[in-house]
């Protein structure tokens, strides 16, 4: 089973929910996959022993100037302007390349080969029995999706996979949540939290993944999120109150269930509730 923790709005507590859920269930076969590759933070709380770090690569075109006749066909077919004819040379912009392979197929001279280009890192490790995988996008690289996919390749269908998703509602989020069995949307009861929850729910409906809500800092704001969930028939599976000591523990990288051991049972119950919904 694969449960993804997502949110719409950033900073609502995705990583808190994902890491605590994983640790509370660590007696089972659990894998943790950090797909927030632009701003990965789960390692701070899980403190994994990393056994392997490998590059994530995409294939980008390389032009053989000897064979190239400057016909410009490659530039014509590239929808991303990642390859272009500039005077007497064809130039490649790996940052813009989506690695579709179109230019190398289109080149009538077979002058284009595809070579690996590093876009990020994939870390593999262990944390108290949890198999840990985390992606990290290289600074200056634009596209997170190849790194997300490199992490997701480690999903094992007969294990429980817990995925920490990036914030937002665009391609990195869609790529992360696709094919999940269930998505937990973490939000807070504020106008910002509500607005982004509405968008996130619309994404989940579009990709056809069932979802439920965790309401964090449940007592700081207004009724907006509760009313919205009621209207849309979305279950609020867990409410975590606002407490300054919880915020301080989070700040220093402590797990909620280390500070408040009662939460171990609460997170196990959360998992049972999700199983009950499926």
């Amino acid at each position: 089973m694969t449960i993804t923790i997502a949110s719409g709005k950033g900073g609502t507590g995705k990583t808190t929910i994902a890491t605590n859920l994983a640790v509370a269930l660590a007696t089972e076969k659990v894998q943790f996959l950090d797909c927030d590759v632009e701003a990965p933070n789960s390692h701070i709380f899980l403190r994994p022993a990393i056994s392997k770090t490998e590059p994530v690569q995409i294939l980008v075109p390389q032009v053989d100037d000897q064979k190239c006749t400057l016909c410009g066909r490659c530039a014509e077919v590239c929808e991303y302007h990642a390859i272009g004819l500039f005077g007497k040379r064809v130039l490649v912009f790996p940052d813009l390349c989506h690695a579709c392979g179109g230019c190398s197929i289109a080149c009538p001279e077979n002058a284009i080969t595809e070579v690996p280009h590093d876009v990020g890192l994939l870390q593999t490790g262990q944390s108290n029995g949890i198999h840990f995988f985390a992606g990290q996008l290289n600074i200056g690289e634009a596209k997170a999706t190849p790194v997300i996919n490199a992490v997701k390749r480690h999903i094992r269908s007969n294990w429980l996979n817990i995925i920490d998703a990036p914030p937002g509602t665009s391609c990195p989020v869609v790529e992360t949540v696709r094919h999940s069995d269930y998505v937990l949307l973490v939000t807070e009861p504020t106008p910002f939290g509500l607005h982004d929850l509405e968008l996130a729910v619309a994404v989940m409906r579009k990709v056809e993944v069932p979802c439920g809500v965790v309401l964090n800092r449940a007592d700081i704001g207004d009724e907006g999120v509760e009313n919205f969930c009621h209207e849309k028939n979305i279950d609020i599976l867990l409410r975590i109150p606002h407490r300054r000591d919880i915020a301080e523990a989070y700040a220093t990288g402590r797990l909620l269930i280390e500070m408040l051991p009662d939460y171990r049972a609460i997170f196990r119950q959360l998992y049972s509730d999700i199983e009950g919904q499926l």
């Binding site: 709005k9 690695a99 289109a106 106008p191 990288g253």
Partner: protein, 301 residues
Amino acid sequence: MKELVVISGKGGTGKTSVLAAMASMATNAVVVDCDVDAANLHVLLNPQIQRRFDFYGGKIATIVKNRCTSCGICRDLCRFDAITPDYQVDAIACEGCGVCVWNCPENAIEFKEHKNGEWYISQTRFGDMVHAKLGIAEENSGKLVTMVRNEAQKLAQKYERDLLLVDGPPGIGCPVIAAITGADAVLIVVEPTRSAMHDMERVIQLARHFHIPVSIVINKYDLQMDLTTKIRALCQREKLDVVGEIPYDLDLVRAQMNGKTIVEYTDGNLRTCFVELWNTVQRHVLNRLIVKSSDHRRECV
């Protein structure tokens, strides 16, 4: 005209609250929301949309059933697994590369411009605002960010505004790169948590990669003083100005629930902090940029 972009790496550190507060004090600025896939600035600024535009960011393939012979070439060539076994294009997986279109022996695949979202020119109680909304589960947020910034620049030139105040997206990927490339300065909002500090370091590196000057504001600075001390030390080491420190205060949430910026909402200490922040940003960031750009002009001559 100068352009200041507020970013953070980690989401939820207070970018939008800081940007909205500055917008309420700026006298001649255009406000821009570049967080196009989870925009929130409108909640505080209540923009009245004056003009609405469709955004076409890319194309999408469609297989014409009666021309398709199910030969399988498109499925073999597509690297995004976007063609289903019964030869339909999965619109969510399709990246609009066109490989299937060019290589179909039957010319059975159409390739049409696809609407990814909308963008708007609006009026707020503090002046003009340019913002956008990416369609649900759509791609090309970076392109939409670039378009919004370009349009805001045109608007600012037309009305002789001297500042663009830009609310950026979280992360370090394409929408962030699109939001900061070519900007005059970035302001990073950080909070004293290990997560936010980790992400701040990555976003500092990103800004430096594009040679953009960085300054820092510490939100909720009194939540965890040891970490705030570490942030200050890091900034000193990296020669980055800390232009403001905001205490941990739920008035920011209350202001949000009232649809107001913090400067409008309260007369208390929190307001003073934001007024000081804005004064420092003007003195230490924006005014210094004038000196820098005139130096640059001299060099060019």
